[in-house]
């Protein structure tokens, strides 16, 4: 009996089985009762057979032998009935019903089901299979007759979880967000009366609070465990091992982590692709592993955990890692970059080329993977969901892919833009930066090439698409391309889709707005420029723009040779008092920022890479020693020591003082208001504060910080 052990390991899946088995058991009950009216109903008998069969099948998978045993007896009886070997009667239906009840008992107490005795029921059912139906005993079973049972059975309720059509949940979520909208309107209108009308304030607060909770709750109903995607990977690894003649072990963690249903559904393909790559190119042949002093068996790990508002999924292998030397050769060979350009790049930038189309790191093409298509699609798909993907690589030790995904697709950050008087929502995930083109600025100029507009930005050339034009909002025949007055300020959104970039020209840029994404109505599926619909704060419907579709509609052709815009060499000023900030934190919860334009590079290191000389910390960087400054050593923030964890070093553009800023976490880059709010008491090393996602950001003064560190370290 192995019933006890697997249960512990597969608790999530067992729970799913229990829910499903309960549904089947209920179905069996009602079908048996239906049969009591018409013993010859073939359709019902077939259904009964199928229900019991699927309980048996899944129970067998978990080694729930008693459930298998009893459902098997029931199944064979239904089989005999189906093949007209025996005929059901009241007596046998009663026996089946009581067997079914016992089955339900076992499913309800699945953990102890292996201790329950099924023999009386198996024997009884067995009796029917071999003997002709007994007649004339009906009198004895009056109390238990199906018609009496019918009433008591109707009282059965399945507790803990219920199945609901997804449409119902979607509807609930829509209504919840509508409620939020209504609340906002109510609060706005009553703002002036809050103090005037006695008792209004607490009521409004209560409504405010409850509405948020309802919306949250409605969102949660769509959450599903990652196990729904992960559970197909053991099989995948088994097949890959056989196909590739490798010995691979799969370790999974985080099955229970939940994500929105729509994200779960679109994660399958990207994850499968990464796992295939890991098995094919990452894990070495057993012989090779042995000669390298590794275990013959390779390991692929998939882990998932919550982090902030995101879910992080990590797929790592202990294989060969990506050989950046041969990757460089590949990049050179494919003509994507010149030798000089490559020499200037750090490892991370070089690894990033894995995500470009047409580049495979595999030395040979196999059935499984290696054609150089795929990783670009993986990245595009992940970014589409509002997520990010990055590689960590250690040669001969393996590589990992780290995916960061938002918890839900349904609400995304977007920016509201205007074209020809109509508002559209553009997902923030697609937006790289916003550029205002003023006449006379030589760094960013709009020019026409054969009637098509291009933007010269920081030495690069970007194709420009006019939103009004691509959507057909500008009348044809007016030669709109020429009519644009270049002497005005023109707003351009730089759009990134995977490795592609283009500029989208709009008439106006409104606020950021968190929007609830609704699917595109079926009759608009042919409109490639839209990915969905949303209802804005004012109740109006706005179309959500699909950047990829717009590029397609505008017939943009992307070569992979587009010169990457050197984002870091230019001041990222996007408007008055706004600047792109690089946000990070040390051990504590405090978030700090420096202008992105101040940072020349961000390096990833491990705690063990740090060398201590006196009080100072150093790392080897480009064959030189680089002094590290830990902000928490000098600033009034949460203090502590790093263990041997992954850390980041931000290398600022400060020629005078070569140094690296040692931080624990890089959060994001964001365009923030940097009209600094002076602090009450001036702290050395901090220039002021601003806000990001309602959190306070301390803006560091690097020069002061360095001076402080020099003082403390050297004196």
């Amino acid at each position: 009996m192995i019933g006890g052990i697997p249960i512990l390991e597969n608790e999530e899946f067992i729970q799913e089985f229990v829910e499903e088995a309960r549904l089947h058991i209920q179905q069996v009950e009602s079908n048996l009762l239906g049969l009591a009216n018409n013993y010859q109903d073939d359709e019902l008998i077939n259904e009964l057979f199928r229900s019991v069969h699927s309980i048996k099948g899944t129970a067998g998978f978990f080694g729930l032998d008693n459930i298998v045993g009893l459902s098997h007896s029931m199944e064979s009886l239904f089989g005999d009935v189906r093949n007209k070997r025996i005929q059901l009667d009241n007596l046998s239906i009663d026996a089946l019903l009581s067997a079914n009840d016992y089955l339900k008992d076992m499913v309800d107490h699945v953990a102890s089901s292996h201790e329950m005795d099924i023999s009386p029921f198996v024997d009884k059912l067995g009796g029917f299979s071999h003997n002709p139906p007994m007649v004339g005993l009906a009198g004895e079973i009056q109390d238990n007759s199906p018609s009496n049972l019918r009433q008591s059975l109707s009282n059965i309720v399945i507790d803990e979880s219920i199945r609901v059509p997804i449409g119902l949940l979607d509807n609930l979520m829509n209504l919840a967000s509508e409620l939020v909208l209504g609340r906002n309107q109510l609060l706005r209108i009553l703002e002036g009366e809050r103090k005037e009308i006695e008792g209004l304030d607490p009521i409004l607060q209560n409504i405010d609070h409850i509405t948020s909770q309802i919306q949250e709750g409605a969102m949660q109903t769509r959450m599903q465990p990652l196990g729904n995607v992960f559970n197909k990977f053991p099989r995948l690894i088994r097949e890959l091992s056989r196909q590739l003649k490798k010995d691979i072990k799969l370790e999974m963690d985080g099955n229970q982590v939940e994500l929105d249903k729509s994200i779960i559904e679109s994660l399958g393909d990207p994850l499968t692709h990464i796992i295939r790559n890991a098995a094919d190119h990452g894990i070495e042949d057993p012989e090779e592993r042995e000669s390298l002093g590794k275990e013959r068996q390779g390991t692929i790990r998939i882990g998932a955990f919550h982090e902030g508002g995101y879910v992080s999924i990590n797929i790592s292998d202990d294989g060969s890692g990506i050989d950046t030397k041969s990757l460089k050769k590949k990049i050179l060979g494919s003509g994507l970059k010149t030798k000089e350009e490559l020499a200037d790049m750090d490892e991370r930038q070089i690894l990033d080329h894995v995500f470009l189309p047409g580049l495979s790191t595999a030395s040979s093409v196999t059935d499984v993977s290696g054609r150089g298509v795929g990783m670009d699609v993986v990245r595009t798909n992940i970014e589409r969901m509002g997520g990010t993907i990055e590689i960590q690589n250690r040669i001969h030790q393996g590589s990992s892919f780290i995916l960061n995904l938002p918890l839900t697709l349904a609400i995304i950050s977007s920016i509201i833009v205007e074209a020809s008087g109509q508002k559209f929502a553009l997902p923030q995930a697609d937006l790289q930066e916003m550029v205002r083109v003023k006449p006379g600025n030589r760094d960013r100029r709009l020019q026409y090439i054969k009637g098509s507009m291009v933007l010269r930005l920081r030495g690069g050339l970007l194709p420009i698409v006019s939103l009004s034009e691509v959507l057909g909002l500008e009348m044809e025949g007016e030669n709109p391309k020429r009519s644009r007055d270049l002497s005005e300020i023109i707003r351009i959104l730089i759009i990134k889709i995977g490795s592609k970039r283009f500029g989208l020209m709009v008439d106006g840029i409104h606020d950021d707005e968190e929007i609830l994404v609704k699917p595109l109505p079926i009759h608009l599926k042919s409109c490639k420029c839209y990915s969905g619909v949303t209802i804005l704060g004012d109740g109006d419907i706005a179309m959500i723009l699909d950047s990829d579709g717009i590029a397609g509609q505008a017939k943009l052709e992307f070569t992979d040779h587009i010169k990457e815009l050197d984002e870091e060499n230019d001041e990222e000023k996007t408007g008055d008092g706004h600047e792109t900030m690089l946000l990070f934190s040390c051990l504590g919860p405090e978030i700090m920022g420096i202008p992105l334009s101040m940072a020349s590079r961000v390096e990833e290191i491990y705690g063990e890479d740090i060398q201590h000389i006196g009080k100072g910390k150093y790392i080897k960087y480009r064959d030189q020693s680089l002094r590290l400054v830990s902000p928490h050593d000098h600033l009034p923030i949460h203090k502590g020591e790093y263990g041997n964890t992954k850390l980041y070093v931000i290398i600022p553009k400060l020629e005078k003082y070569p140094m690296g800023l040692l931080v624990h976490k890089i959060h994001d880059t964001a365009i923030l208001d940097t009209k600094l709010k002076e602090q009450d008491t001036k702290v050395n090393g901090i220039d002021g504060t601003t806000f990001w996602q309602d959190k306070i950001i301390s803006i560091l003064n690097l020069e002061e910080l360095i001076e402080m560190s020099l003082g403390e370290d050297n004196l």
């Binding site: 829509n174 109509q422 959507l471 057909g472 409109c527 419907i541």
Partner: protein
């Protein structure tokens, strides 16, 4: 057919629709046009948080753009064959609800050519008026999009 029909004016002609198919009538609606969308779609309308796709029946029936008043009236259909989607169409004016009995009904005369025969289910003869009963399923079906 037998039962109640909702009558409405469209492009100066009188039509009817089985009232069982109608969810509600919204007057003076505000909608969002879809630049680059199909010509037979007027736009999207926010019905209490549900997105309603508004069809141009004039375009479907006469193959030309209908006149859209400033504050149009929209008949919204119960979602049936279209899954969870809500569909509506603009009318010039919604009129009365009338009782129809089989003896009032007549198949479509063969000489009506400017209307695609399949879009009209049958004619209903009242004393003063002839009412065309529309077949929304056919009008909305995806197959005959040009």
């Amino acid at each position: 057919m037998t039962g109640k029909i909702l009558t409405f004016h469209l492009n100066n002609e009188l039509f009817g629709i089985d009232i069982g198919l109608v969810k509600e009538i919204n007057r003076k609606i505000k909608y969002t046009p879809i630049p680059g969308g199909p010509e037979y779609i007027i736009g999207l309308f926010n019905m209490r948080g549900q997105v309603v796709t508004i069809f141009d029946f004039v375009y479907k029936l006469w193959d030309k753009k209908g006149h859209i008043p400033d504050s149009p009236t929209c008949i919204i259909l119960k979602s049936q064959s279209m899954g969870n989607e809500h569909i509506g169409f603009l009318v010039d004016r919604a009129e009365d609800v009338l009782d129809v009995s089989p003896e009032l009904c007549e198949p479509l005369p063969g000489n009506i050519d400017h209307i695609d025969q399949q879009y009209i289910r049958e004619m209903v003869k009242f004393e003063d008026d002839l009412i065309m009963i529309v077949n929304p399923d056919k009008i909305l079906s995806m197959e005959d999009h040009n």
